[in-house]
Amino acid sequence: MAQIFSRSADTWLRLGLLVLFVGLTGGLLVALALDRSDYRTGRNWVVEQPLPFSHAHHVGELKIDCRYCHSSVESSAMASLPPTETCMTCHSQIWKNADLLEPLRKSLRESQPLHWQRVVELPDYVYFHHGVHVNAGVGCSECHGAVDRMQLMFKAEPLSMGQCLACHRDPAPHLRPAGQVTRLQWHTDQDRRALGEQLMKDRRIDPRGLSDCGICHR
């Protein structure tokens, strides 16, 4: 009887199985890596804005506090974007003829707000309250990074669910004393965990249940 398979058939079969195995595991790894890439999460990608507002200049050099513009951050779910009038508190006096600021003046003239583009957007099924976090002592830079060094605004963190949960499961090392929350370059020589645990005790923060589904998915 003639041979059905060639002499190398067995090698090819084994090679095929190996390629299949490597392909499947490799494909999974590639998919997981792509899932975490900045391209997918939007991390470090500058978002185009109606005018090129520089946080590095206003926060880093001029030392304007976050809350001067994002005024409802301590009391509301949204940090809020400043109305044109807030910009005009300064820009009606300085750089009032700069070409760069023409969209701002137009906004005031026509009583039309500037269409700032969202940089950080959580899905609608996530409930996030800025006020709660700020009052608990979570620094702005924990999620938003070194905003005072960003010429143009971008997301500094992927802000995935894993990040939310990492902090909710173990909040202590992420907490700061009151008054230091908006200090983007704040630094302490104290042990963050010990400090955080003390702060939690003082503010009566109970971490039990913080990682329950219903905390964020209401």
Binding site: I4, F5, D10, L28, L32, D35, S160, G162, C164
Partner: protein, 454 residues
Amino acid sequence: MRPEPLLHDTGHFLPRDLSDQQVSRQVFGPLQQFPRRVAWRWLFGIAITLLLMYLASATVLLANGVGMWGNNQPVHWGYGILNYIWWLGIGHAGTFISALLLLIERPWRHTLNRLAELMTLMAVICAALYPILHLGRPWLFYWILPYPNEMGLWPQFKSPTAWDMFAILSYLTVSLLFLLVGAIPDFATARDRAQGALRQTLYGLMALGWRGSQQHWALWRSTTRVLAMLAIPLVFAVSSGYSFLLTMGPQSGWHSTLFPPYFVAGAVFSGFALVALLAIGVRWLLHIEALITLRHLDMLGRLLLATGWLTAYGYLMDLFMPFYSGDTHEIEVLLTRLSGPHAWSFWLAIVCNVGVLQALWWRSVRQRPGVLAAVALAVLVGMWAERFMLVIPPQTRDFLVSTWGGYTPTIWDWTLFIGSFGVFLLPYSLFLRYVPMVSAFEVKQALHQERGDD
């Protein structure tokens, strides 16, 4: 007790002088020349129709969501769970026959194990599709798997959904391996007898280069034994596992400590019923009455009777326990099972699984294929009614009277369930044409051992 003359008084239940050639002709003949072509075409046509029905129902379900089904407040577990349990239970008998009877060396199993293993495979697949469709968003089914994810989450290991996934996946893997490894020598024979290059190549691939050397046989023997030892605990683990699905629920009537063995017995019972039905069908379709003899059917009837009584003990205990506990709500739920709106399911289960089953005490019933098939069919219906009785009525009677409600399956529940027989039958009808349905080499070995010529 002397068997009747037509029945062979041998360990393998076959005529003592059955030759190797006769066995080979009966097993491998149908792969080339199928005996009952017209009947097979009918079977295949029905299978395709049912499968299309299944696909249509699944499409409607995916397009519109689980709301197409009848489950709602307060009955969250409707046909999705009940049919899952029914199908998965059926699968267990295949493993029981092929693995347990292999290890305790019952030579008569060799004519039944292949068709039972194929049944197991397809039944497990029919069952596995149910939880996936039930998820609501089936395309996210991989969320049940433990994989590194950016959500920082593991699957909920306390959830029955995760258990389903582990149970089915391990059971499917072991069943498939057992089937494929166990059939290697037969695929090799099919390869050697095949005409046409395509068949030779495909059977050759399945045979994985089997030459029948001593080394091959030694490896094969240890592999199948190891797989059998893996498979047997799985039967008990998986079916006790899905009895715990119910135990995790807050409903009364689901917390008897008897549940795991009760479910194992019920699973193997319903499985034997389908094995008996398939054995009767396969022996007629392939014209292999000489290989699957009346003695085999007789033995299946006995196994059916024995496991049926184990299940009946479960019913008896289920009737006793609520009164023994004295818990008023447990008693309320039991009375709902007995006389509530779904009481038909309880009594149908009793009539079929306890009543009709007793016909099997008579040898003349066990040895008449038509009658045995009728009893097996009754058992399948009865076991389905039992799953209904176990799953549905307790949910209609919650702890608060204000949340009491009813349950009516919709047309889509029915079409999906009836269609799932197409998922089972279509591959099975193809197996009939292309897979050696009897483990020919093991039968030959048993014949030689019985004759004492090595």
